[in-house]
């Protein structure tokens, strides 16, 4: 690893000051993505700002019908939170299946969403519920946040403070995990609130995206069978040694059906 300096601020104000606007000064959350990439020299930086001592970035609470989760909340905390399990059980279930237990003990929701790995789980939850991403400078709706592969609307020096998830009537997530990493080869999150249905695919393309044909079919009939004649165009999908684009396209529909099944089961 190339040498860098490390700071550990104790407040958001100090963290923002330490970050400044330089592109090579990065926030460090759980380090479960950032440290491996630095180790393998896939990226480098001059300084890291460790956010783990900033209390304002922690915590889970329900404010009316909005679930608020601090950026530094670890995956294991979300998975085991009674508040999350009650308000959005599919979100707790998603967190419980990220990576392995040691990854979940360190990895954070803020780091995962800021990183926007094409195969990550949390971006699907944020987009399907159109959560708000609250940063130190503004509030960004999920619809405007995910730009492309590892790319988001965040500017250098901007940090995510917390997420605001509107609680849906029902929601479910299903992923086909790579047996080695547990990342999604394809994962689908569906959510229904009133008459509105959203469906988001992760793992299949360069970034999470809404599958509008799936959404329309489920808005008419929120049942797995409603997707029997639906397909997703896989021409822009990823192909790698694990799965080619046609396979991922097929998998996305299978996962969408399972996600609907899960949503219906969780709502019972």
């Amino acid at each position: 690893m190339k040498a860098f300096s490390l700071q550990k601020p104790a407040s958001v104000a100090d963290a923002v000051a330490a970050l400044g606007s330089a592109e090579d000064v990065l926030p460090l959350a759980g380090g479960m993505t950032l440290i491996p990439t630095l180790k393998q020299r896939l990226s480098e930086c001059a300084a890291l700002v460790d956010l783990s001592d900033v209390p304002e970035l922690r915590g889970i609470s329900l404010e009316g019908d909005v679930l608020v989760i601090g950026a530094m909340t670890r995956h294991t905390e979300v998975a085991n939170s009674d508040v999350v399990r009650k308000a959005i059980p599919s979100l707790a279930a998603l967190a419980s299946r990220i990576g392995d237990q040691q990854v979940r003990n360190r990895g954070t929701i803020g780091g995962s969403v800021a990183n926007n790995d094409p195969a990550a789980d949390y971006p699907a939850a944020v987009l399907v519920l159109n959560a708000e991403i609250v940063t130190n400078v503004r509030t960004i709706p999920a619809d405007a946040f995910f730009i492309g592969m590892f790319e988001t609307a965040l500017e250098p020096g901007e940090i995510i403070l917390r997420f605001r998830f509107p609680v849906p009537d029902m929601a479910g997530y299903a992923k086909f995990a790579s047996p080695a990493s547990r990342y999604a080869l394809a994962g689908v999150f569906v959510a229904r609130t009133g008459d509105s249905v959203r469906a988001v695919v992760t793992g299949a393309a360069s970034s999470v995206f809404r599958a509008t044909d799936v959404e329309n079919a489920l808005a008419r009939d929120f049942q797995p069978g409603a997707l029997d004649r639906i397909s997703i165009d896989p021409s822009e999908f990823l192909s790698d040694i694990h799965a080619d684009k046609d396979y991922r396209g097929h998998l996305a529909i299978v996962m969408a059906k399972r996600a609907v099944q899960t949503a219906l089961a969780l709502a019972e």
């Binding site: 300096s5 479960m32 440290i35 392995d100 040691q102």
Partner: protein, 163 residues
């Protein structure tokens, strides 16, 4: 930078480069080579230690981040030099290891599991050890060991209650 932390119940103060990994600090600087490094991608679990009682991958943790924290490594499990922790005894008695490379990580992960869940099912053990890779045993005897270790720890704490 200078950091001070608790390592296996003793206070340690060292001068480190901020980019030092905890696995490097333990093995190279402090010469505690019980913590193993089996990969470059944070996937094998050979390096698992406890940070404030929770199992974490020491190869994916910066020394600067553990300033003021409490660490435990496999060397800190047994009470004395001839002693073994009940989980170590269970691994020995149940052939839970062959080459032993994965064993320190397996032990540290398993002990974190039984601390939170004293009577885990086989499925819970397998799920919890997802991030600990073993190239030798086929896992069967590792799972057996963890269940036996959990039992031994339950028996020991019941003994304490009666005493």
């Amino acid at each position: 930078m200078t950091i001070t932390f608790t390592l296996n119940d003793r206070s340690v103060t060292v001068d480190v480069e901020p980019s030092t990994l905890v696995s490097e600090l333990l093995r190279d600087t402090l010469e505690l080579t019980g913590t193993h490094v089996g990969c470059d991608t944070s996937q094998c679990g050979a390096c698992v230690i406890h940070l404030n009682g929770e199992s974490v991958k020491s190869c994916t943790l910066l020394a600067g981040s553990v300033d003021g924290q409490e660490l435990r490594t496999v060397e800190g499990l047994a009470g004395g030099t001839d002693d073994l922790h009940p989980m170590q005894v269970a691994f020995r008695d149940n052939h839970g290891l062959q080459c032993g490379f994965c064993t320190p990580g397996m032990l540290m992960s398993s002990i974190d599991l039984v601390n939170r869940n004293p009577d885990p099912t086989e499925e819970e053990v397998r799920e919890w050890l997802e991030g600990n890779i073993c190239r030798c045993t086929g896992y069967q005897n590792i799972v057996k060991s963890v269940i036996a270790g959990a039992q031994a720890l339950r028996d020991a704490s019941r003994g304490d209650d009666h005493a």
